[in-house]
Symmetry: C2
Subunit: 717 residues, 2 copies
């Protein structure tokens, strides 16, 4: 982990290129640090001035006479690399470089490389270049040239914010200030020649002042580093909210990502985020709302991890409403988020119906407009469901009720009492009310929203956070590492395994494959077929011809010896008509004779190499459906069983295994374990693996069985 202490908690700061004019890039940090109350020492460095904005100035960094923790660098791009060297020699430990004109412009990559190399060589932690700097709100440390803190600073709080984009960061700062969302740190990483978003996430995961991490990212430069950072946050029980842009082709093209962007790339990011329980925010509004929810919201009193996945946890919720119509909207929203709506317990329902005969005591619990005349009935219902132990959270729609003086007074009493009962389910409120009432409720752990649907989204996010936090605090299970699998034997120059080799390798890794043999003549083919039992398939077996069905190299459903002989001849002829890379007729290496596998559906499973995250597994329903609906699910390889289960669910492949069209239901854990084994088989090939694809896996009464497999190889480096 990078030590960002000198960068984010510096005891002293030098400003290289300090300006006497406070509105200049080299002047603004001095103004901010002075006016806003930074308690450390500030040293302007400017060879042409004795004082800068009232502070004694130094001609060089050396002239300061003592090492400083952090240097803010506002010099022309061409001078910046030398400054790194000087800083390092003077013992400065971190530098924020505002200057632009590096890798983001044509021809600027080399200068950036020099900058980074100098910083690294001299032990200087580098933030930027082309960034808007960093702030530590608690320490009133404003290492930025943005004037935005001059017009107000958000309260000190537990939300750490890190953004690759400076302008996004500045806008987020303004919105946080407006919403009163408390921040701990604010960091923009710009060109990321040194410190990356991932490094900041990892540091904030260990920072005692930060509880929630808000992140904006265009792309990860280092997938492994991002995974390590997200794992650190998960292990610390700190929710990460992520806005990852460039999700569409238009967006990705706008982002001009330096990674060779796959069309499916966003699905890979999503798989990574799912793996670590990251809360994804598609809009700025959702980004802040999730920050508010996770920083301020009490976790549900009850929740459960669906399919064993903490990232898919949900909480049962009681909807208490003064409007039947809005109650229905909230129920729609709960169902689409998977939040259960258990009915109101009998005693509470009876009490409510006795007081308001027309009230609905199903869930949503509708006390109707009677709330105005009988506020106590409404509040008794609220307290009743909060205390009964059936619900994780209580979501109440008040409309304008909080502005009714009598209701407000009684609501305060109820909320204050419930706040002293840690066992009770937390309350989330939607409705209109003034800022003072909102603040009062929030101070008692009660979140307030304008939009009723947002209370439901908040319950879902809080359930997920609770499940991830429980995971963090649970003692780590001692997992025996899976037994190592010896990779198969193949020539160094091979670009693929033959199907027979691939199937054998998968079988060795524990993956069920169709019974088969390799025949070199028709007699042998018939002998193999008879030993396997009919029907069989005869397929060309080659390390070089991969698209064997395209050239007529696959014959299926053979029912007798004559058919096998005939098919063998056809396959052999097909090979002879094929040319190899040198233009010579391809060499016939034999034909696979495989038992036809019976089943009622097809699943496709693959492993590919992602440029950012390395090996990625994918799965989905096979056949035409895959191509048209493109509902594939992704996971980092090797897969955990939980991730494989989630992939079966997300891709809907699960539907083929759970009593599809009257067929028997399969053990989903066993099916998931097959995916896990495939991913391990791929991972065991290490750097040599290019792609692995099993298409189809036949779904039948005995579970999955691979009917075909392709493994292509690459030469690393």
């Amino acid at each position: 982990m990078l030590d960002l202490e000198p960068l984010l908690r510096p005891r002293s700061i030098a400003v290289i290129g300090a300006s006497t004019q406070p509105e200049k890039v080299g002047g603004m940090p001095i103004r901010l640090l002075g006016e806003l109350g930074y308690a450390g020492r500030v040293y302007p460095v400017n060879p042409g001035a004795d004082t800068v904005q009232g502070l004694r100035a130094y001609p060089t960094i050396d002239a300061i006479g003592e090492p400083v923790d952090l240097a803010i660098v506002a010099v022309p791009a061409a001078s910046a690399p030398d400054v790194m060297t000087q800083l390092g020699r003077a013992g400065t430990r971190a530098a924020v470089v505002f200057t632009s004109g590096f890798a983001e412009v044509a021809g600027g990559a080399a200068l950036q490389q020099t900058l980074a190399a100098n910083a690294q060589a001299h032990g200087v932690q580098l933030l930027g270049p082309n960034c808007l700097g960093a702030m530590n709100l608690r320490a009133r440390m404003f290492a930025t040239f943005s004037p935005i803190p001059l017009t107000g600073v958000p309260p000190v709080g537990e939300v750490g914010l890190v953004s690759q984009s400076g302008a996004f960061g500045a806008y987020a700062f303004a919105l946080a200030r407006e919403a009163g969302l408390g921040l701990s740190h604010w960091v923009t990483t710009g060109n990321e020649a040194g410190v990356q978003v991932a490094d900041v996430i990892e540091w904030l995961a260990h920072d005692p002042d930060t509880r929630v991490i808000l992140t904006y990212m265009e792309g990860a430069r280092d997938g492994a580093r991002l995974r390590r950072a997200l794992a650190a946050a998960r292990d610390a029980g700190k929710p990460v909210v992520m806005t990852k842009v460039g999700t569409t082709a238009a967006g990705a093209s706008a982002a001009q990502s330096h990674t060779a962007s796959l069309a499916g790339e966003d699905a890979v990011y999503q798989a990574v985020f799912d793996e670590y329980g990251v809360h994804r925010a598609p809009t700025l509004e959702a980004f802040f709302r999730l920050g508010y929810t996770l920083a301020r919201g009490r976790r549900p009193a009850r929740w459960h991890a669906r399919g064993g996945l903490p990232a898919d946890a949900v909480a049962p919720v009681a909807i208490v409403t003064v409007s039947g119509g809005v109650g229905i909207m909230m129920a729609d929203s709960a169902e689409s988020l998977g939040l259960p709506l258990p009915p109101m317990p009998d005693a509470a329902a009876h009490a409510l119906r006795t007081a308001i005969p027309f009230a609905s005591t199903n869930n949503p619990i509708d006390v109707t407009g009677q709330v105005v005349a009988q506020p106590k009935v409404f509040l008794d219902a609220l307290a009743g469901v909060a205390r009964c132990g059936e619900y994780g959270s209580v979501a109440a729609f008040l409309a304008g009720g909080a502005n009714a003086p009598r209701l407000w007074t009684e609501l305060q009493q109820t909320v204050a009492t419930l706040a002293t009962e840690p066992e009770s389910a937390p309350l989330l409120v939607s409705g209109v009310m003034d800022d003072e009432k909102r603040a009062w409720l929030e101070s008692r752990g009660c979140l307030v929203f304008r939009e009723p649907a947002h209370t439901m989204e908040a319950v879902a996010a809080l359930a997920k956070a609770a499940a991830m936090e429980a995971l963090a605090s649970a003692p780590a299970e001692a997992h025996a590492p899976p037994a190592a699998i010896a990779p198969p034997d193949f020539p160094g120059h091979a670009t693929a395994l033959s199907e027979a080799e691939a199937m054998a390798w998968l079988a060795e890794a524990g993956v069920p494959v169709a019974a088969l043999g390799v025949a070199h003549d028709a007699d042998e083919a018939v002998r193999i077929a008879e030993s396997l039992g009919y029907p069989v398939a005869v397929k060309l077996c080659s390390r070089t011809i991969l698209h064997k069905s395209d050239i007529g190299g696959v014959v299926l459903h053979l029912k007798d010896a004559a058919a096998v002989r005939n098919a063998f001849a056809r396959v052999q002829a097909a090979v002879r008509q094929t040319r190899d890379a040198d233009g010579q007729p391809a060499h016939f290496e034999g034909a696979i004779v495989a038992r036809m596998v019976r089943g009622w559906g097809e699943i496709m499973v693959g492993v590919r190499r992602d440029p950012v995250f390395g090996l990625v597994a994918l799965a989905g329903i096979g056949g035409t459906a895959v191509e048209i609906f493109r509902q594939m699910a992704f996971g980092l390889a090797p897969l955990s069983r939980a991730r494989a289960r989630a992939m079966l669910a997300q891709s809907r492949a699960e539907a083929l295994c759970t009593g599809h069209r009257g067929h028997p239901a399969l053990d989903l854990d066993a099916v998931a374990d097959v995916l896990v084994k495939v991913s391990r088989a791929a991972a065991a090939l290490g750097d040599r693996l290019d792609t692995l694809e099993i298409n189809p896996f036949i779904v039948g009464a005995d579970g999955l069985c691979a009917a075909d497999a392709v493994i292509t190889l690459r030469h690393p480096g």
Copy 2:
């Protein structure tokens, strides 16, 4: 159309059950009408008081001595029906009934029926019962018992709001007031014993004071009436924003919909909304935002209707941003909405790059943080794209830029100039700014949002509105009605057609079906097979046994006469083992011999009867995919070609027809016309039709061909 003039523009109002206490249900309307400046006459009716809240009171409605337009009725439920009779005799033309205790409570349906019957018999237009009343903002007419107008009223504007739920209506009123959204009328319909939401939509469609209609609905009581109302709004060029709740099982159960709710019911509503270009709002936030957008937003300068569907119209948009990161988010959002992002024209791009070399002149157009130093460059870029004729709309992200005094002054000049140029593309802005600046921009036709993604959603909504408005103002095309098809001949007691009858009927309606004949013995089966050519299928033909494959009544892929004989015998035997309703062996009526149709995919097309909207067509990819992905598209039958095209696109069935796996592409209009003909064939069966299902339609080089058809019949009434 119901004449709601006396209800919504009354010249005089009587309050039956008028109370001297202004906070009572019978007192509040008198207080509101008096305090808020209603200009018409108000007559309290109360036999026990001489004056009510300072107005002369009358003991009965007759004592008023002249007919009044509207009566507000606040009497106990049991008395309400008699009041209707008295009102009618006194010449009162409309009544708002606040009272609850009718159909919404057990045993209250009969009383409501009497209420409605009395009102109808005496020519009284009835709003309610169990409703919160109505308001006409321009006329300051507040026929409600909600005290909410006392604390403030939204500005008078062009948005008409109608809500089935009173509490939703009241909350919407409060939010409109807070957002400054101008309203024309506000109507709640409650139990809808008389006036329904649909009636109010239709009236507002003709109301000169209303330009946009906001609607909240739990369910339509009368599908035909709703369609007529939506058609009237469409023909008047007035956008309808709809929040229809009960979209999920939980929501539908909460709504306790009186219609026998199909799981797919919401999809049928959605098809209706699509048909009429209704803007659907899933949340309260979206409801208001769409109202704001459509009421205040200038329509795009250019747009096009995708697939010929105005409801799917999009506009090319220029994104101009001061933050690259937010620009990417906006590009992602544009792409997911289908909004094209054409590149900046060369001249404008050149000018921008000359002024700011690091600016990105792709679209998104990123002027970078230089906007602060060079506001003119930013504004020139903005005006350049607005004027160039390439874009429908311009979406600008300003961050906090509007608060920079110099930028704001110059922005005002640019916006004011563009506002005088009707040809220029309208501007939508996102960023933070104070209310005064926002109002200034809005008054120049420039919408302002906090969330950048919302500018994109607004462009999409405005493009759709522009396309629907163009449709309204275009001269109606003279469509020749399709030639009437004579329904087939079948016995009155039949509950289904046999497959042979169904296929013949479809063929007569112009639907391509597999060539077939009906054989009564094996010899005849072989003769038919030989005349059709092999391979053939042999299938049981019966009006009573519909699930023929379940009993072994279907044998496919028969390649010669022996196979046909064998299959015929199997089918005949299968029938003999089946019992009819009386427990007797089923009667063998013959077997279909049909040519096997070749193709590369299957589409399923059906027509069902929806309890609200009548005949509904559905289509999707056939086979396992349908069951697992459930991606069916719906449309009201008979379909238009445009709707059928939209269904092919929405269900992805289109993918099978556009060069799937190297197969030839089909003429999509011709494919859509087959769906149209199926829907007409179903409609021609009128009230007798229960369901029609063609599964599968084989997709092949000659287009679609029906390989099987089931038509079931019902006995109306």
